[in-house]
Symmetry: C2
Subunit: 235 residues, 2 copies
Amino acid sequence: MTDAPAKAWRIVLDRIENDLMSGELGPGDRLPPERELATTLGVGRSSVREALRVLEVMGLIRTGTGSGPTAGAIIIGTPSGGMSALLRLQLAAQSFAVEDVVQTRIALESAVVADLATAVSPDLVDVQRVLGAMDDTSLSPEEFVALDAQLHLALAEAAGNGVTVAMMGGLRDAIEGYVARGIRRIADWDDAAVRLRHEHHRIVELIGDGQADAARAAVTDHIRGYYATVTAPTE
Amino acid sequence: MTDAPAKAWRIVLDRIENDLMSGELGPGDRLPPERELATTLGVGRSSVREALRVLEVMGLIRTGTGSGPTAGAIIIGTPSGGMSALLRLQLAAQSFAVEDVVQTRIALESAVVADLATAVSPDLVDVQRVLGAMDDTSLSPEEFVALDAQLHLALAEAAGNGVTVAMMGGLRDAIEGYVARGIRRIADWDDAAVRLRHEHHRIVELIGDGQADAARAAVTDHIRGYYATVTAPTE
DNA sequence: GTTTGGCGGTGGTCAGACCACTGGGTAGCC
DNA sequence: GGCTACCCAGTGGTCTGACCACCGCCAAAC
């Protein structure tokens, strides 16, 4: 009972995790070929592939066929997709509630704007750029929503916390389906867009003025109102 | 080019995700046997297994051999492990920094205590129970740390947000290795334990008094001090 | 009635084979 | 000599078949 035989794919996963932590493997490096890993670790190639598949879905590696520098399993430097895949699946499995996702997004994003408001000289170039792009009144709802996602992500990136960026991106992606469904049901989109634009400008303004608590409150209201609009607009 | 042939394992993953979202599959249900899924979807069994492996590591299913009710792939109701596996791997891959993980934990946990402080009648039974257990001065550092993890998780659970619970648990698990390493280097553990106990009691007290902002500040200082202690204690 | 053995179904793993794709080297042509 | 087209080796992607370990169930034996 004590010496439960480790599953073959877990051996592979543990080995790769160890090599990552020890620095033997790092961003940009290429993993050994699947067949070589299999013989090295004494497992079958299918077990190696199961482990690599996990790493791929989690966004840690990118696999490519053929030969040359783009082929093989390559460790990705900037993570993306892993968090959204996880959250999306757990949301689908009814492990998570949409309301909880929204609430968590508020918690993270209010912390982001509070951080930015108290920062000495935050780099808001990207934020300002997206903010300006959203002032275009000829945008379609879909374009507007896409820019909105960019704006919120730019705020997180300005705060410089990679974990928060990944989590916020994941949370948003996970409920993207709900948002897209709700957008189409909004009767007077223009009114909503005007309000959202105003709130965005105000939040950025509060950040610039260093009013952390006000920015926190503003972003909380903004996100809550946003989801309230898209989830139950046409009762 | 436009109709890139979907990878076989992605077909399986998408199908299962769809069945989850449509309600065809739910917590407690059993997935069809691997061989049946393979023939149904027109893919090989190995591709099915790659998809199931992803779901297993993400904490969505539990697989069991043999026959009977415990055999097969069963959808898990309460997620656990998926978030910590993801964060741990991305931390190992140097995609995330420890400092960012700590900061994100502060953001989430301060929101939790603020929520609890403003809640009408929060259920703090579990919190109080763990809090009492930690007053035992004969606890070993390892036991103390384990209870500390329980306490913080109990706070998140009291707030009733499943997403936050999963994220906080994952964040903590991901840096567990760093904490365990630091614990052993603390010279005067008793002093540190006394301080941590005091801070815990104060945080819970502030929650009971409904002082959201003070609780937020207290938990921020508490977590930051905790990691400062275990990461650089013996300079 | 109790025990025990076999049986069927499940995941776990491996080995081998074939395909698609890519890059580079080489043979052939101009 | 230079250019082009082709072939080849290496990689991931997939399928097939086989075997094993495990477990519950049930029938046969006691």
